[in-house]
């Protein structure tokens, strides 16, 4: 079965008009499109998804705290987007390769990030936060939408080798205005590349509401490119898991690209340098608090009797432990020596840069012996 786009003209009610399995109050609703993809998900798996989201929120809070304490230069919070990131990322196979933007803390968590991986880039120690080959995640991308093309190119390689992997790219609603994202959709469709586009519509591109980017539901654009799409409630982790399984199945089985718009909300600022009180209402924020992805799943699990005290306690302890290790790793980071600024520009010797490096080394050496 292959869900098709849900055309929607009313962006004010977009979340209510997205595909979902769990309603905001935690009641389960039948969904003919999504249910077949999650028939295997039992209470233990739901608790694991809950655990992931709680840990992610704790990591995110620790990131904000570390920035406020001067330990990080910047942090891009993902609070509110836990279901989107965990639900979609937990659907991936280990060999799939992800091309993220900079807000995908939950995705790299799900791919096995180590505590230092969350902070290394934001602290300014390294250009890339982690080893891409280890997580099978490309470096966090700051240029809006640029990574979508990389995913398509990677997918062409998969296709060329007749491999069964899928390339996945994450981006936001703001990115959908970029030429690169539109070009990526064209290239993906032209070559029927095994790539999945995951648009996290979190409603805000810094201060610009999604209506500035699109006057039509974003998922509705994809069919115009020849790409089937699904608009899913991004605060329903089960729906996100199901939608991503659909998209991955589609791409993996040689049917070409698939597109998901996960309708969610950025509860925090764009980054720690942003002040959202200047551009959005508390009332809007409050309405999205009532759609919180974690409390929604908790309500469902509580109703089915599967939210045990033991699970809650273990989850909280695990979250605290990760945050503690993240903080300790962050504070323990040792900045590389001065000449490291020259490292890794080129793979092979470059005489011009070597000359500059030698001159700077001599300059630094001229201070030796001074005290």
């Amino acid at each position: 079965m292959s869900p098709q786009t849900t055309p929607i003209a009313d962006t004010a009610q977009d979340l209510e008009l997205s595909e979902r399995i769990l309603a905001p109050d935690g009641t389960r609703v039948a969904n003919d499109r999504l249910d077949p993809f999650v028939t295997d998900v039992d209470a233990a798996q739901l608790r694991a998804l809950h655990r992931d989201m709680v840990i992610l929120r704790r990591i995110d809070a620790e990131g904000v705290a570390l920035q406020r304490q001067g330990q990080l230069g910047l942090w891009a919070p993902c609070q509110g987007q836990e279901a989107t990131q965990i639900g979609t990322a937990r659907a991936l196979d280990p060999q799939d390769y992800v091309f993220p933007s900079y807000r995908e803390t939950g995705v790299i968590y799900a791919r096995g990030a180590q505590p230092g991986d969350y902070v290394r880039m934001w602290r300014g120690e390294e250009g890339a936060a982690y080893d891409p080959a280890a997580l099978r995640v490309a470096p966090l991308q700051i240029i809006i939408g640029a990574q979508t093309l990389h995913a398509v190119g990677y997918a062409l390689g998969i296709q060329h080798e007749k491999a069964s992997e899928v390339a996945v790219t994450y981006f936001g609603d703001g990115a959908t205005s970029q030429g690169d994202v539109n070009e990526a959709m064209i290239f993906a469709a032209s070559y029927q590349a095994p790539v999945v586009f995951v648009c996290q519509n979190n409603h805000w591109a810094i201060s610009e509401p999604v209506a500035v980017q699109s006057q039509y539901p974003i998922a509705g654009r994809a069919p115009g490119f020849g790409i089937p799409s699904l608009r899913v409630d991004g605060n329903d982790v089960l729906a996100c898991l199901a939608a991503m399984r659909w998209a991955l199945d589609h791409a993996r089985s040689g049917k070409g690209p698939a597109y998901i718009e996960a309708v969610t909300y950025r509860m925090g600022p764009h980054t720690t340098a942003d002040d959202p009180t200047r551009y959005r209402d508390e009332a809007e924020l409050e309405s999205w608090r009532r759609r919180d992805p974690i409390t929604r799943l908790e309500a469902y699990l509580r109703a089915t009797g599967d939210l045990t005290e033991e699970h809650l306690a273990e989850t909280q302890a695990a979250a605290d432990a990760v945050a503690k290790e993240m903080r300790a790793t962050c504070l323990g980071m040792v900045t590389r020596p001065p000449l490291a600024v020259f490292d890794g520009v080129y793979a092979e010797p470059h005489t011009g840069l070597e000359r500059q490096r030698d001159e700077y080394a001599a300059y630094l050496a001229s201070f030796e012996g001074e005290a």
């Binding site: 093309l149 990389h150 000359r355």
Partner: protein
Amino acid sequence: MTELTLGKALGAGLRQAMRDDEKVVLLGEDIGKLGGVFRITDGLLDEFGAARVIDTPLAESGIVGTAVGLAFRGYRPVVEIQFDGFVYPAFDQIVSQVAKLHYRTQGRVKMPITIRIPWAGGIGAAEHHSESPEAYFAHTAGLRVVAVSNPEDAYRSLRQAIASDDPVVFFEPKRLYHHKGEVDLEAPLADAPPMGLARVVRSGTDVTVLTYGAMVSTALQAAEAAEDEGVALEVIDLRSLSPVDYDSIAASVRKTGRVVVAHEASREAGLAAEVIASVTELCFEYLESPPLRVTGHDVPYPPAKLEKYHLPDLDRILDAVDRVMDRPHSLTGADA
């Protein structure tokens, strides 16, 4: 040795690179059945198939961004930008991604991408078809920049660029595409001079003329004309614009003491300015006169009927030679 045009030599270089390494794939507009608008990729689709010679949608950022993804997967993409003036839509992917990913990841992700650009003027083309954007790329850390001037160099340098683990912006002087020269198709690549070295194409003792691309031919014509007047020009083909081979340049300048740098690109903040600044730092005490630039004017590339007034020709080079040698020249009257 085989006599080939520069265009055919490039095609032979691509063919050999694709035979040598199955990870080499080509992307570009019209490079498949058509063989490219300049026919550089002629015949490659038949030999290697559509999975390795990929006709792309008309989106330059998309072409380069897709090449980045292929490089992530371990491929060596060779991208054809159809004309020099069409590279700007890809500028962000080249400058922000291709150039920086190796540094960003401390070498964990390599970007062995070659970006071929049919380049520069002199063919009476429409607007945006005669640009010389090389300084933008030479200014960008993480890129190597190569400009070829003859069939032999085109054949070897292109294979070296493709084999390099670094990204290379590869400029092909389109007005020389049909110029012929001898190419040794059998010589091992390992025996060729490294990609980053300049080449003395004509020895001389009076003035060092530094140039690259199609202007090498112009400089050689100027050297022949100067010889008639008893002036010996040493013409150096820079070949590599990043890095620039200052060892070879300095050796020449220490011998001649006089320098002229010529390029088609406009003057302000151009490569000639950078080369002269470095020559001055390295060889100041050897200089007999201020080094001079002979360049395109600081104007947008002009309409075809006017391009002969924009492109440096041998007389403008000779005039600069007269100036650095303190002989009578075009400004002598104005100076007096």
